[in-house]
């Protein structure tokens, strides 16, 4: 009886030591989950999720405060990835909250008064210009977050859809030739 107790105590001590050691040895700095979630997010920094940027949204998701379907630029694919990462069910976008077509901001340079408000709004410094000078968008860096549209006092910023060209064209998903019966009543009758 006593020896059994000693054995149990011994085992618990050894296991405790192992656990304690690994807690120090394999210590993870920061919250790895936030980093992982942040890596999935599209980094538009658009705030459409209601958080001031992608990282804060990632933190909110990690804490369980935010839903995973709040990021329109990430698309459904993004929700799927988050669902997989967090081991939760896929959740569709709310009504009218789905992703919009990809676009970049464009400044009508005739109207721009050089107020620099859009410069301050841009989360990725994709607008160049200075006070009283005309501004312009660096289209290749623009994430299409639309944060610059609102502050412009003269409404000279518009979002322009990115047209499809040969370099961005994608092969379409093959259309399965077998159509359900209800879509093809004549054929069904013929057979």
């Amino acid at each position: 009886m006593i020896s059994a107790l000693w054995v149990m105590i011994g085992i618990s001590l050894v296991l405790g030591a192992v656990l304690g050691y690994s807690a120090i040895r394999f210590k993870v700095e920061g919250n790895p989950l936030v980093e992982k979630i942040d890596a999935v997010l599209p980094q538009t920094q658009c705030g459409q999720c209601g958080y001031p940027g992608c990282k804060p949204y990632a933190e909110a998701i990690a804490k369980g405060e935010a839903d995973i379907n709040l990021c329109p630029p990430g698309g459904e694919e993004g929700i799927h990835k988050l669902a997989e990462l967090l081991g939760v069910e896929f959740k569709p976008f709310g009504e009218g909250k789905g992703p919009r077509a990809k676009a970049v901001a464009f400044i009508d340079e005739n109207t721009c008064i050089g107020c620099t408000l859009c410069l301050q709004a841009c989360p990725v410094d994709a607008i160049v210009g200075a006070a009283k000078q005309m501004h312009t968008i660096v289209a290749s860096e623009c994430t299409g977050c639309e944060l610059c549209v609102e502050p412009c006092p003269v409404d000279c910023i518009s979002m322009q859809a990115i047209p499809e060209d040969i370099s961005t064209w994608k092969w379409p998903y093959p259309v399965f030739a077998i159509a359900p019966v209800r879509n093809n009543p004549q054929k069904a009758e013929a057979s």
Binding site: W171, I178, A179, P180, V181, A188, S191
Partner: protein
């Protein structure tokens, strides 16, 4: 915009299935020769049931009827099932088995191409578990003592369960060679004495051995026409021969010769028609080798130690379960990656 290629080989699913069905003809001819035309009745019944069930399920699942009814896969399932159960089985047995196979094992899993289990074998398993007594009414081959039933009398029995006066079912039917072997071994008889019983021929059971040869011939045609790859039948029959041969050498009194295993039961049908079913089988060459060897081992084990006289159907179903795992394990090396890990 349609993608290349713009030409295709003439093969089609329905043509492949039709050729498989065609390859069953020699075996069926032997069946009719030795056991009378009753089997044709069950095949017809199974065909009608299979097509009707297929049509019904397609309708329920909102799929177009024509391409799937003409792909001949339902027909093949029906024929396989009809060949696996006794010819003199009552009509509803065939109907229930076929309908279950098509409706549950095939369509509830997503229809053509998506069923993990061979529908015919599922149908067979359901029947042998649910109606074991009816599944023993195997006809006695012609040339043995016993009464030969005329074709109208056979029909009368299949559809109405009525036998001509003065005959009993026992006089008409007999246990299969595998079944007899199992029973007699239990009673303590050595193999050589059992093999002297009148139901046995040169290789295995009288009649049944010729049916097996018929299926073997059909199988050779399929190999010739490249409908099936040689791996499955060769590995299956080879493994079965090796295991059975080994035990037969060690203890010939308790274990029958490997040729007996080949030519009795559904071994030949299995080697060429059941284990070669692509839908439930593995997709890699290595996988097929593992699958066929496993199936042979299970067939032999069930026949030698199991509760059922034949093991082909259960071997097929058990190996079907393993297919996803086998496939994942046996992915071949890709061109230009032979050197590295994978």
């Amino acid at each position: 915009m349609w993608s290349s290629p713009f030409i295709s080989a003439p093969a089609s699913v329905s043509q492949i299935m039709l050729r498989v069905i065609f390859a069953m003809v020699p075996g069926i001819a032997m069946y009719v020769w030795f056991f009378g035309p009753a089997i044709l009745v069950s095949i017809t019944l199974a065909s009608i049931t299979a097509l009707a069930t297929e049509a019904l399920m397609l309708k329920l699942r909102n799929r177009p009827l024509k391409p799937f009814l003409t792909d001949n896969s339902a027909l093949l399932t029906g024929w396989l099932l009809a060949l696996s159960i006794p010819a003199l089985a009552p009509w509803w047995l065939v109907v229930v088995g076929t309908a279950f196979g098509i409706a549950v094992a095939k369509h509830l899993y997503g229809g053509l191409g998506n069923n993990p289990f061979n529908p015919a074998m599922v149908g067979y398993a359901v029947l042998i578990i649910s109606f074991p007594a009816h599944m023993t009414h195997w006809l006695t081959p012609h040339g043995l003592e016993g009464i030969v039933l005329s074709f109208p009398d056979q029909l009368n029995y299949i559809f109405h369960g009525i036998l001509p006066a003065s005959t009993t079912l026992d006089a008409l039917t007999t246990a299969t060679p595998l079944d007899t072997l199992k029973t007699q071994l239990h009673l303590g008889l050595p193999v050589n004495e059992i093999r002297d019983m009148p139901i046995y021929g040169h290789l295995a059971g009288k009649g049944t051995e010729m049916v097996a040869i018929g299926f073997g011939l059909g199988g050779l045609y399929m190999l010739y026409a490249r409908i099936i790859s040689w791996h499955t039948p060769v590995i299956y029959l080879g493994t079965l021969f090796a295991i059975a041969g080994l035990f037969h050498l060690v203890d010939p009194a308790s274990y029958v010769a490997p040729t007996f295993h080949w030519f009795s039961g559904a071994a030949m049908l299995g080697a060429f028609f059941i284990f070669t079913d692509p839908v439930g089988g593995p997709t890699t060459i290595k996988g097929r080798v593992i699958y066929s060897a496993g199936a042979a081992l299970l067939t032999w084990l069930i026949r030698s130690y199991g509760g059922f006289p034949d093991g082909v159907a259960f071997a097929a179903l058990l190996m079907n379960i393993c297919v996803p795992l086998i496939d994942t394990w046996t992915q071949p090396k890709v061109f230009g990656r032979k050197g590295d890990g994978k």
